[in-house]
Symmetry: C2
Subunit: 303 residues, 2 copies
């Protein structure tokens, strides 16, 4: 089952070297989620053949322009292209006011409804849940209210061992309990679940953490995550600047991935001062080998 | 003296085929004016090596997103790059509210002052004037309040014919009057100005007309203009759609250039439906031969 993220923008606030501000599309089982929507996101979608009509949920981390200024244009284009399907937007409560004032002055009534889901920057919340996945906020530590997002597959059911199920003649109506891990009682005898099933595929997860100071409190959200996207605005020689601006260095991103016991780290949100990003990669890899650089247009699988 | 416009964006509301929404930079005597600022303008400036720090006046025609959504990001980047020099913005009065609400929620206090100059969509106004040039609004006819902009060099002084000035021994203190076209009185004799001077270089002008219905009332603003930028959203087979949406067809743009006795026509604001723009060019050229297509990154001289 597909679980992958495509980077549309990986620059910090001032775009440079043809990098664009933050935006990425997460594809989980062919459901598409847009995470942040910096200026130019709709053009990046066109460039990388992301079908905007397939996006029904948009997640905005915070109200610095490089994370949301592409939203108004994207919504307008969806409107002009005839979208009628409702759009859910998860983000700071003030976002609605920013969108509405612009719709008002352009005298636009969108053909599709927007459902706003206000995020609470001070509390971990499950903001979406269905049978396949859950989405939680991550409390970040930035200059203005800011949340990350954790996308998790639901725990997979255990797989039946067909021969054993037949051997003990387990009734069909009990099979879903077996998949949930229950033991089977046959008269006085207990048949342990492990004898009848094996573990299902592990549930995968993706965490988006941008923008934030290095802050170990995020570990409670991201420990064990399969793919951690973490901002890495500066190299560690500029840790003073990182602290001042509530950002993270590459070294710190590597440390947090290691402490979180993440499977893989993807760094992004690069400062305009870096033309060559390899030194940032190497610095993070010294702490956490399984680090990758965000590259616009590239897709990273969550495994 | 330089007088030229560089196209940064020439698409209408939905960007497509890698065309960007409206934005252009006018260079008059090495003074740089930004006209409209669609989403992605700051990235287009980077691409085409336009130095944003040199821009001190920005002109916004109206509050449809494809004409101003790049403004907030551009101002933010100027701020982050340390700009302190004041910026003048000419546009609809509601623009200030849109900018201010976004500054408020991003908790940003710009390092440079913005001077807002509200445009009046119902009245031709001189909105800027100095010794070199004047800038006037043009009343356009769009779905929401919208103005074009007319940039005019000041009338050039007449040039002295050195030998004649010496022959009649015209006093130095009278020479500026000669340049202004006055005759010279020598005793009872009148020496006609034409004997002493020749016409100065003609004053050049550039008119920006986007977005608008075909409307001959603009002729009072643009007659005799050297370079007319006029929107040309559709081909004439979609004239019904053009009328509905308050836009112009290529044929109509050609007709208005002809009626205005313009020297040259530059068409732009192309609908996303046209991959190949040559048919729009040919249609306009049937009415007005001196037509050019807007091409992003290309510079057109006002001659």
């Amino acid at each position: 089952m597909t679980f992958e993220v495509t980077i549309l923008g990986c620059s910090s606030a001032s775009p440079s070297y043809h990098r664009h501000p933050s935006a990425q599309v997460l594809n989980i089982f062919e459901r598409f989620f847009l995470i942040d929507c910096g200026e130019g996101t709709q053009m990046q979608m066109e460039r990388y053949k992301v079908k905007s009509q397939r996006i029904n949920r948009i997640f905005i981390s915070h109200l610095h322009g490089d994370h949301y200024l592409g939203l108004m244009g994207l919504l307008s284009t969806m409107h002009l292209q005839g979208r009628t399907k409702e759009m859910s937007i998860y983000g700071p409560k003030e976002l609605k006011e920013i969108i509405n004032i612009q719709l008002k002055y352009s005298q636009t009534i969108l053909r599709f409804p927007i459902i706003y889901h206000d995020t609470n920057p001070d509390k971990r919340d499950v903001i979406f849940e269905d049978e396949q996945l859950s989405i939680e906020t991550i409390i970040l530590n930035h200059r203005i209210p800011c949340t990350g997002f954790l996308f998790k597959e639901k725990k997979k059911p255990r797989k039946l061992i067909k021969e054993m199920v037949e051997k003990y003649a387990i009734p069909i109506e009990f099979l879903h309990k077996l998949k949930d891990g229950e033991d089977y009682h046959q008269g006085n005898k207990i048949i342990k679940n492990e004898e009848l099933t094996v573990a299902g595929n592990p549930a995968r997860s993706y965490a988006y953490c941008s923008d934030t100071l290095y802050d170990e409190r995020i570990l409670e959200s991201i420990t064990g995550v399969n793919l951690l996207y973490h901002e890495s605005t500066f190299m560690n020689d500029l840790i003073g600047r990182a602290n001042e601006t509530f950002h993270t260095t590459s070294k710190q991103a590597g440390i947090i991935a290691k402490k979180a016991n993440a499977k893989k780290l993807l760094i992004g949100h690069f400062s305009a001062r870096y033309k060559d990003l390899n030194p940032l990669l190497l610095e993070a890899q010294e702490e956490f080998l399984e680090t990758r650089l965000s590259v616009e247009g590239e897709t990273f699988r969550v495994e």
